[in-house]
């Protein structure tokens, strides 16, 4: 896996990072950030559950950038590092993750890794803990997390070193609404 950017920055004076590389395609960039802001700005599915899914995707896809970022809205909703530490293989046994979070993780694993993980029991658990609207939003989120992580990795935008970084949660872009 390369930590050397494979594409230059399209923004003068800025190093290559996701935003500056995506700026080679301004319309894609604008529509992505409008979508991502709308997704995170929606409260249909709590940010804590979105973040649990995002961090699981980060670990499975080996996206170092995604793995080290924390969105502040989920932190505010009580997602601490002790629970994050349990988002590894064996999360079913965690006493710090809720049953809704475990159902979310099972769904995430099925989408990003192995559809067989979504057994009849796992589907039932998902539909017991989440409404259809929440499952739809989770499905969108995991789709975007997976695509974003793979794009970051294949564009060579993985950091060589990065500590845990709390970032403002993407917000609804008024101009895009």
């Amino acid at each position: 896996m390369s930590t050397t950017p494979r594409v230059s920055s399209a923004i003068a004076g800025e190093p290559p990072h996701f935003g500056s590389v995506l700026a080679h395609q301004p319309e894609i960039s604008a529509s992505f950030f409008a979508l991502y802001g709308r997704f995170w700005g929606s409260d249909v599915l709590p940010a804590r559950l979105k973040e649990v899914a995002r961090l699981r995707n980060a670990r499975v896809t080996e996206c170092g950038f995604c793995r080290n970022v924390r969105f502040d809205k989920a932190v505010t909703e009580g997602l601490g590092e002790d629970a994050v530490d349990d988002i590894t293989d064996g999360y079913e046994a965690s006493v710090r993750l809720t049953d809704a979070e475990k159902a979310t993780l099972r769904f995430t694993d099925a989408l990003i890794h192995d559809p067989e993980v979504l057994t009849a029991d796992a589907k039932a658990a998902l539909q017991r803990h989440l409404t259809p609207a929440q499952i739809a939003e989770l499905g969108l989120g995991v789709t975007l997390f997976l695509a974003l992580a793979k794009a970051l990795i294949t564009l060579g935008l993985e950091p060589e070193e990065m500590g845990r970084t709390v970032l403002p949660t993407p917000a609804v872009l008024e101009a895009a609404e």
């Binding site: 395609q25 989408l111 990003i112 499905g139 789709t143 294949t154």
Partner: protein
């Protein structure tokens, strides 16, 4: 717009519209026939119904890019700088950025279809 993610978002027209706009912008940045080949190649890797691509009928640059796209579903961390350089030589940097987004999104959409996301979200 079709696809499992858009279908699952039927109950949230605003989010569905934003998703459709994003996918459309990404795909519009590339030739439509090339986008179809990318999606076809990735669907085939996932074992989904997809017609075989006749590699002999496409030019060398496209063939190189499609070979690269086939690695996205299960080998994304193994793609080398040299492989990426070859695709960039064919598409240019802006084209490679769009290609990276389209291929990654196509992979994720195949996976969403394989778990029947619309059915799960349909209640």
């Amino acid at each position: 717009m079709s696809g499992p993610v858009h279908a699952a978002l039927a109950g949230d027209p605003v989010l569905a519209q934003h998703y459709a706009a994003f996918r459309k912008r990404a795909e519009s940045a590339l030739d439509a026939r090339f986008v179809a080949l990318i999606r076809q190649a990735i669907a085939a890797v996932h074992g989904m119904e997809a017609a075989a691509i006749d590699d002999a009928a496409i030019d060398e640059g496209t063939r190189t890019a499609i070979a690269y796209a086939r690695r996205i579903p299960f080998e994304h961390t193994a793609i080398t700088d040299a492989e990426a350089t070859q695709v960039i030589a064919h598409l240019g940097e802006p084209g490679f950025v769009a290609f990276s987004v389209v291929a990654a999104l196509a992979d994720a959409e195949c996976r969403a279809a394989m778990i029947d996301l619309p059915g799960l979200a349909g209640g």
